[in-house]
């Protein structure tokens, strides 16, 4: 019996399943230096050239601390864990998946090389032991299961960081830092397609069990051992968290259809909005013009639009964990500015910047495919923009942007604006008359035409102002035309006519038959 460990080691080494023997750190180094060192650094310390352009920063391999594991908190990851992160990437971060770019062999070699950055992997007392996860209990999407999940979401303290509704806006969220002292945000649980370790119920449960080492997210495995909750109840938490995100990750549809309604819903939470189709648009950091911004906080917008015979209402909702300006986030903001390299030589001091949103249209509806430059137009081809700011919530400004750094408000009143901030989400409704008093600078909205539209968002508490923002490309807005009466009448007319003609033919045929019989 005392020989068992030794025997096991020998058998393990002999087992053909042991991949370690076939990995080549020399070849791995070549792959690493070509594809990985730019961010992770030549020595694996997470200090490559691109490192100070991203939040969260690239992994520092020298500490062998990994977020996405199948092992208990504190243990090393398994090779399979590491390979998964290499293959799939880490959603919501700058780390892409490499499965389609590197061969099987290359990925295994680079994994072997990455392990050499830390002495922990060579330490035989540190062998990782994956947790034996069970399967998810059935009925996870039922109301009762979700209620249990919600109850434990509160009692195990998820809300402290992730917030009451899960948008990463909990009371502790502004104070969060990773092991290296970099600012880190609590995940927005409504965006499971951006979860580092994957967005399925199983992924979420695994992260609850293992924690995300190196981050503030702890392991909850001890709670099972100490009977604070049962395994099924922890699964319910995972199922509840999963239920906060849509069934499928949102896909971009290019054209926002604005149906015709009788009454314009001015308030963001007007019940009339619930029946209106919603469109999602991704935003990315503005990295084209200086001062560039690599770490935008707003990752996407949800857009709805309706119109009446004479007016339009556009509703834009976006998740933002801070209601800027908010002094509670000033320290966090300082960490963000301190972590990221700036284009300027002088580092900016944190200030109480507001949240902002810009909705952009061309000055007039283009006739062909030509549109102004999407990044706020140019001096010769300006764009028409509505700008809203959290510092003056119920007003918006209309103006002409002539490039990213020139915005000239128009003398006329801007569109109507109503805004709500609710548990980590802004919802703003813009309203305006379709017709424009000044067609030279203010776009007249017309039905049945594809009107280019683009969006820009700033999270003040993330250091965003001026050219530091999140941007979209051009999409389209289409005001549906009222369906003319002939659309309904024509088919009926056609049917009546066909029936009449048919009857006529039958009648004539019958007449002829009876005539012949009489002869």
């Amino acid at each position: 019996m005392s020989n068992r460990p030794a025997l096991c080691v020998i058998l393990l080494l002999l087992a053909p399943g042991s991949r370690l023997l076939s990995q080549d750190t020399t070849a791995g180094k070549v792959v690493y230096q070509k594809w990985c060192a730019g961010c992770h650094g030549d020595n694996g310390a997470g200090d490559g050239q691109g490192a100070r352009r991203m939040i969260p920063p690239p992994r520092d391999f020298t500490g062998a601390i990994y977020q996405v594991r199948s092992t208990p908190s504190g243990q090393l990851p398994t090779d399979a864990d590491l390979l998964r992160s290499i293959d799939e990437g880490l959603p919501g971060t700058a780390m892409p998946g490499w499965k389609s770019r590197l061969s099987d062999r290359q990925r295994r070699d680079v994994l072997a090389y990455i392990r050499t950055f830390s002495t922990f992997f060579a330490d035989t007392t540190q062998r990782p032991q994956p947790i034996a996860f069970g399967g998810a209990p059935a009925g996870g999407s039922g109301a009762d299961a979700l209620k249990v999940g919600r109850q434990f979401y509160d009692s195990i303290g998820c809300r402290k960081c992730h917030g009451d509704l899960g948008r990463g806006d909990g009371p502790s969220a502004p104070t969060l830092k990773d092991d290296a002292g970099h600012p880190i945000f609590a995940a927005n649980l409504h965006e499971n397609w951006r979860f580092n370790g994957g967005g399925t119920v199983e992924d979420i449960y695994h992260r609850l069990r293992t924690g995300l080492d190196g981050t503030p997210m702890p392991s909850f495995s001890d709670l099972l051992e100490q009977k604070f909750l049962t395994d099924e109840q922890l699964w319910r938490v995972a199922q509840y968290v999963r239920s906060l995100s849509p069934q499928e990750a949102p896909a971009v549809r290019d054209v926002v259809h604005a149906p015709l309604t009788k009454q314009l819903p001015h308030a963001p939470d007007d019940s009339a909005w619930t029946s209106v189709d919603v469109y999602w648009f991704p935003l990315v950091g503005q990295i084209i013009r200086k001062e560039r911004w690599f770490a935008p906080a707003v990752s996407g917008l949800w857009v709805k639009a309706v119109h009446t015979a004479d007016s339009i209402a556009l509703r834009v909702a976006w998740d933002d964990r801070s209601e800027s300006p908010d002094t509670a986030w000033l320290t966090y903001l300082g960490h963000v500015l301190g972590t990221l390299d700036s284009d300027d030589s002088t580092r900016e001091q944190p200030a109480l910047w507001p949240d902002q949103l810009a909705v952009q249209f061309p000055v007039s509806i283009p006739t062909g495919m030509e549109r102004p430059y999407f990044l706020m137009g140019s001096p010769s081809a300006p764009v028409y923009q509505w700008r809203w700011s959290s510092s003056s919530r119920t007003t918006a400004v209309a103006g002409l942007a002539r490039g990213i750094d020139r915005y000239d408000p128009l003398p006329a009143a801007g569109p109507g604006a109503r805004a709500v901030y609710d548990h980590g989400q802004w919802r703003v409704v813009f309203t305006r008359a379709l017709a424009s008093p000044d067609t030279a600078s203010q776009l007249p909205f017309r039905t049945g035409r594809a009107i280019p539209v683009a969006f820009f968002a700033w999270d003040g508490s993330n250091g965003e102002h001026g050219t530091r923002m999140a941007i979209s490309t051009w999409y389209f807005l289409a005001l549906d035309e009222p369906v003319p009466a002939r659309v309904f009448i024509s088919p009926v007319l056609a049917m009546v006519l066909t029936l009449g003609l048919g009857l006529l033919v039958v009648w004539r045929a019958q007449q002829k038959t009876s005539f012949r019989r009489q002869q």
Binding site: P5, S18, R127, D213
Partner: protein, 260 residues
């Protein structure tokens, strides 16, 4: 192909079999030395010399920031005045407490010391750590307790030891951890309450102490030799002194930090 799958499955089976038995603890590695039979380190090393001293600082101590505990009524209720962080704990006559003083060099290599069987208790009470600074030996248990009826997470930030991050959502929960390598200091923190920090000096020997409210400390049981003594403070940095012990004498090593 079939044989390949079989061998992979077989390998996994072996892994499972071989890994049985040392699950559970965050630090699963067995201590480098066999557990001590005697639980009293003091008695085992009492025969040698002693280094005593006082830690002071010059200048004006920075004010410890007040802690806003309004989010945590149960913690706030444990205080009669506004609680503050414990970054610089000044006593009478500029005495400095919470300084970790330890022998950083001079203990003969190869000499091993059994870890005490008594655990170090780290209590979370009133949304603060008690103690704020402590020493612990490699392999010695640290018992982490939650005395607050609310969520704390306990995150260890370490370089020579494996870090961990576990949660204790209610009062009465305990967790026992050990560290496997010497490290000054391992930082412990709670991310729910950003002001909560504790510092653990992990040593391979029992020659360490933490300065008390009057700034005094005492390291006992040193065999004859010349030692480097280092004093570590979380805000003021480190100071060193060299002390030679000839027999069972008591030597003095005072440290003075410049406030910054």
């Amino acid at each position: 192909m079939k044989g390949r799958i079989f061998s992979v499955v077989g390998g996994m089976f072996l892994l499972t079999v071989c890994s049985k038995g040392d699950r559970g603890a965050v630090q699963a590695a067995p201590p480098a030395t066999p557990p001590a039979v005697s639980s009293d380190v003091g008695a085992a090393v009492a025969a040698g010399g002693t280094i005593t001293g006082k830690v002071k600082f010059t200048g004006t101590a920075p004010r410890n920031p007040a802690i806003d505990m309004s989010e945590e009524a149960a913690c706030k209720a444990k205080y009669t005045t506004t609680p503050t962080e414990e970054n610089v704990m000044a006593g009478p006559a500029n005495a400095l407490s919470n300084v970790f003083v330890y022998v950083s060099a001079g203990v003969p290599a190869g000499q091993t010391f059994p870890a005490p069987a008594t655990p170090v208790v780290l209590d979370q009470s009133g949304c603060r750590y008690h103690p704020h600074v402590f020493g612990v030996m490699v392999g010695q248990n640290i018992e982490i307790r939650n005395s607050d009826p609310l969520l704390h997470n306990i995150k260890a930030i370490a370089k020579k030891n494996r870090p961990f991050n576990v949660s204790q959502p209610t009062a009465g929960m305990t967790k026992t951890v050990t560290f496997t390598a010497p490290e000054v200091m391992v930082n412990l923190e709670c991310n729910v309450h950003g002001w909560m920090h504790a510092y653990a000096g992990v040593r391979p020997d029992p020659f360490y102490a933490v300065s008390g409210p009057d700034g005094s400390f005492s390291i006992k049981g040193l065999p004859p030799g010349t030692y480097t003594v280092e004093a570590w403070h979380e805000k003021f940095g480190t100071q060193t002194a060299t002390v030679t012990i000839a027999g069972t004498e008591s030597k003095t090593a005072n440290f003075t930090f410049a406030a910054r």
